[in-house]
Symmetry: C2
Subunit: 165 residues, 2 copies
């Protein structure tokens, strides 16, 4: 078996997410969808992606429940691609990735697109992680409670050193 390893059944939600989204192209498609892209051509121009690849990704995202397609309201036979609730729930992921990129992947003077609160025109607040009681949480403050391999309502869990999952 040479197929790329899949994580459909992985007990780690991070792996599941990664598996559901599919690949990086898909995430950028989702980003564009948040930016208002709906039509095939919009995605294609924005991404500079080959049409066959784009078609495949759109289909995969639809199957994953991240996008849904509907007849476009322009009367033609075209379709438009819209985020589902599941897709919309990816917003914090995109924003977290965006903030990381802004802080870590640009040289100081370098220009980049920014996500702004449209009421105030100011950037969003940095994403912060909080415990249930509201305290800020750092990676070291966390443990991953692992699930033993397997079937049905498998019980055994074990806590391991500070982690993300």
């Amino acid at each position: 078996m040479v197929a790329r390893t899949r994580f459909d059944a992985d007990p780690c939600p991070v792996a599941r997410s990664v598996n559901a989204i599919g690949d990086w192209w898909s995430l950028l498609i989702v980003r564009d969808a948040f930016d208002g892209s709906r039509r095939f051509g919009e995605f294609q121009r924005s991404l500079g992606i080959a049409k066959n690849i784009l078609a495949a990704r759109l289909r995969a995202l639809e199957e994953a429940g991240v996008l849904r397609s509907a007849p476009a309201p322009d009367g033609g036979s075209r379709r438009e691609y819209l985020l589902t609730d599941k897709g919309r729930a990816l917003f914090p992921v995109i924003v977290a990735l965006r903030q990381w990129g802004e802080e870590q992947c640009f040289t100081p003077g370098e220009d980049h697109s920014r996500l702004l609160d449209r009421r105030t025109g100011r950037p969003l607040r940095r994403v912060q992680l909080h415990a249930a009681d509201g305290r800020p949480v750092e990676p070291e403050d966390t443990v991953v409670e692992k699930v033993r391999a397997a079937e049905g309502a498998g019980q055994g869990t074990a806590a391991e050193a500070g982690g993300a999952g």
Copy 2:
């Protein structure tokens, strides 16, 4: 030119991030690093990844500044792989992805690993996005301020409908 499209120079931080991380394997390596994995073999067992792939990804993550490698303290000639500050800054990304996976990628009864606050043993609070003034922000409340193509301190910007960037 057939090489996979790269985003080294893309003005969108999401694209830059995606480009820097490299691929999904890399993100799972980072996840494992947060979980305490340091050694080649730990990553390999945890991920079930081929050794050559793992070696390539570790090297790429090192070049990207996400990991650094140092001689392992066991005296041997082995190395260990540690998160840099840049890598540690990915924590919110991993957690956001994890929360999305928990909520969207598991059937109700299905078991999965969980990330817990080690003080209280309780899961972290759901990631929330806030405006600069502290108000919660939904995707519709945002606009992407785009940067025109190009050079140096390019000026022109334009706001587009609600988005993630």
